[in-house]
Each structure stands twice: as C-alpha cells, then as structure tokens.
Amino acid sequence: MNKLLITGIIIISVLSIIAVFAPFVAPHDPNNIDEASLLTPPSGKYLLGTDQLGRDILSRMIYGARISLSVGLIAIGIATILGLILGSLSGYYGGILDNIIMRFTDIMLCFPTFFLILAVVAVWESSIFNIMVIIGLTSWMGVARLIRAEILSLKEREFIQAEKAIGASNLRIITRHLIPNAIGPILVNVTLGIAGAILLESGLSFLGLGIQPPTPSWGNILIEAKSTLGVAWWLTVFPGLAILITILGFNLISEGIRREL
C-alpha cells in the first residue's frame, strides 16, 4: 500500500464514520432554527457558524455528508453494475450484440452528462432517488468499455479455455474469472466515478435542481453562501472545503490503486 492510497482511505473512512453516525456526531439538530443567532460567525456554540435561519452549519454539513456519500456510492453502484453487464455481454459474446452495445455506448458518450442530467431533472421530479438513478444511468460507459477490452484480451487465454473444457457455464466464466481479473482498473474507475458523482450532485444542488431544502446537502448550503456573499464567509468556505476534501480522498484512492497495479 502506498501513501496516497492510505491517505485516501483514511479521509474516506473518517467521512463515512461521521456520515453513518451523524445523529451522534452532530452537535445540533440540522433543521433546528435558532432565531436568536441568525448568520452568526463561528463561535463556541456554533463551531462553523449559522445560516440565515439560524441553523448550525456544522450539523447541516455532517448530515450533508450522508447525502453526498450515498449519492456517490449508489449512483456509481448502478453505473458499475450496468457497465459490467453491458461490457461483459459485449466482450464475451461479440458479434452483433457487441456492435449494438458499443454503438449505444458511443451515443451515450456524445451527450455532455450535465446537459443530459439537467434535461431529465427538468421533466422528472428531482428527488434524491431520481438523482442517483440519473447519474447512474449516465456514467456506466467507462466501466463498460474497460471490461469489454479486458475480456477481449483475456477470453482466448489458456485458463479460460481450460474452464470451458471442464464445462463451466458462461456466467461462471464471466463472473468468476473474467471480471475478477479486471478488478484493479475497475476500482480505479469506480473511485474516480464516485468523486465525479459527488461533484455532479453538489453542482445540481447548487443550481437548486438537486437535493431540495430543508434536506441539507453541501451543494444547497452553498446556494445560501451565494446569496450572502460578502456577509458570511463561513457559509462559503466550509461546505466547499468538505466537497474538496471528499473529492480529494476518492482521487487519492484512485491514484493509489493505479500505482499498485
């Protein structure tokens, strides 16, 4: 294990623990309105200050970590499963199926992801669930191409021939032998993907098209930061730092795995 990988894993583990135990870690109720302290700077009572409604920023950020991490994990979970299925079918069976799937992948790659997501959000309701699904449905192409290329290079090798000779099913060959052999590059892709999904979600929420208040997310806290620009620096600095550190954590893991390969 190299230093990058370890640093990344530490960052993400700490964040995950905070997110999972949010109710115990957060000093205040994230939606509790304290009318006596609207927009107060960081202080002993409110460590990272309060917003326009007097809600504790630290607690909102801690609950926001839940949103960011779960959107990242579930969206990329969907994308990875889709990518694995489509990529394996394409690489393993080849022929016309391969042609169709790869054409479809090319088409999906043409769309600027953010445009596609916004278009979908415009016509469907923007709930957390929808956002996860949309990001998932628009980010599977990398994994699909990767696994296809990997299978193409592996499927004529002796150990696969041997598996076939002893009568192993196609499903077993794909899931037990082909996919595990490509696990390294897939992990690099997955961690980068999670970082990308978190960035997408925060961008969407920042535009007011993602996670809807009062549910706190790092992106929608920054909406308030924009409307109080020049008045409340703590509203801008802290949620942005949280996004930066999270993305950095996943990128470090990704780079760390790449160096281990």
Binding site: C110, F115, T236
Partner: protein, 324 residues
Amino acid sequence: MLTYILRRLLGIIPLLLGITLISFFIIHLAPGKPTTMQEAMNPKVSLEVRERLNKLYGLDKPIHIQYINWLKMLLRFDFGRSISDGRPVTEKILERIPVTLTINILAMFLIFLIAIPLGVFSAVKSGSVFDKITTVFVFIFFAMPTFWLALLAMQFFGIRLGWLPISGIKSLDFEYFSWWKRFLDILWHLALPVAVSAITGLAGISRYMRHNMLEILNQPYITTARAKGLPERTVIYKHGLRNAILPIITILGLSIPGLLGGSVIFESIFALPGIGELFYKAVMMRDYFLIMAEVVLGALLTMIGNLIADIGYAYADPRIRYGK
C-alpha cells in the same frame, strides 16, 4: 487517409439517429405535456385553448409521428419555438453562442499557455521540489469544484477587494462607451470567469502533459538523440516536446462535453448570457423545445469534437489510419 475519414463519416449516421432519439424521448416520455407549464401559469386556459396549443406544437399526434416531424424540422435547422416567449429556438441559441465561445477560447488559451510549460518542466525535472509542489497543487485543483472556486474568487476579488465585477458582461452605462472602452469593459467583466475556468481546467491538462512528456523522454530515440551528442535543450524541446504536444491538441476536441456542461453552472453564477445560462433558464421554465435543442446541439458538438480529434490523431499517427 481519405478512406479513413469516409469510414468515420459513415459511422456518424447511426450516432446521429441515436442522439436525436434519446434527446426526444427523454422529454416526451416524461409525465405531463410540454404545454402544461404554459397552462399552469394561466388559470384561464380552457380545454379548447389547451387543445389548440397541443395542436400548435403537434402534441396531438402519436409519438413516433411527432419524432419524425421533429427530425424533419432538425434537417432544416429549425428547432421549433421557445415555449416561454414564442421566439424561434435557433435564434435564441445563436445569440448566446458568442459569450460562451469567447469565455471558453480565452480560458483554453490561458490553460495551454500555463499548463504546457508546467507539465514539461515537471517532467524534465521529475522528482525535484518544483515537480513535487506542482503535483500537490495540481491534485488539489483537480478536486476543486469550479463553482466553489468561483464563489471564493467573487468574495475575495469582487467584494473584499472590489477589483473586479462579479456578474454580467457589461457595465450599466455600456451604451455610452466608445468601442475601445466597450472592449475593455467586456474584458474586465470576463476576467474573473475566465481566470476561474482556466485554473480548474489547468490541473488536468498539465498532468496529462507531464505524463506524456515523461513517457516520451524514456523512449529509445531520446537516448539516441542524447548519444549523438545533441545538446539537452534540443533533445527536450525538439525531439521530446514536439511528440508530447500532439496528443494534447486533440484534447481540445475531447474537452467539449465538459466545457458545455460546466458552462451551465459557471454562467449562472456569474450571470453571463451564454448558452449554459440559457439552458439553465430553459430547465427552470421547462421550455421543452429549447431543452431538446440544446441537448442535441451539445451532443452534436461533442461528436464533431471527437471526430476531429480522431482524424487529427490519424493524421499524426499512421498506425491508426491503416489499422483495422
């Protein structure tokens, strides 16, 4: 070369169909009709008016007929009329292009100007303090959400220091300026957006450049050049840099989807009248024809960018041209 280009051009046809199909059906499979928004804003709309509206936009026909009609319109570069103000969508988009284009070209120019030397020096002096510091910075900026950097810059340079305007593209008294002052005024307004966009874009390109350069400096022909007794400068800049820089040029084509997507957030933060901001408004208003048009155009631009990148690659590298 010609056969390669022809083959690639033929490959476009299924892509085009796929792009239009997806753009169309995302919008039309959603619950509610595009005209619902227009009706919702006006309670007086009667059933009769609603039917007339549906007829006007062709929404009373079966969905596949609607798709074919829309395709026919696309062939004439007619994207329909905007639901929010009734103007032709094409016109609305065309008037927004200069702003987005200017910002991206300026930002790209800055990026290449800084990222290429940065990447080259990091590679040449790999392992040095300079390399280590730039690597750390690049890593941090790579993880930085653009809109956050924009907010910080607005807060610091726009409000705290008061040096730069934080929104819009021209001053209030723009109309009274001479052309020279107008030019400066626009540049002054673009300074912050362009700088922020360039800084976040820098990271990726300089990393890529460093990687390319390192790879090339390890090639046998570089050793040969050194063995011939060529001065180190010639080896690095003539034999190394020229080869490392080629793939970077094609990055231009490949960065189109990211730039377009980014422009939505970017232009709405700085209130710049570009196509990103138009798209954002269209989404907020549920302006279906405008949304479909922008999605299709975004995908088309990406496709053309990829194509140019591939052809550029094939032009530079014969192995691709003759392969397969």
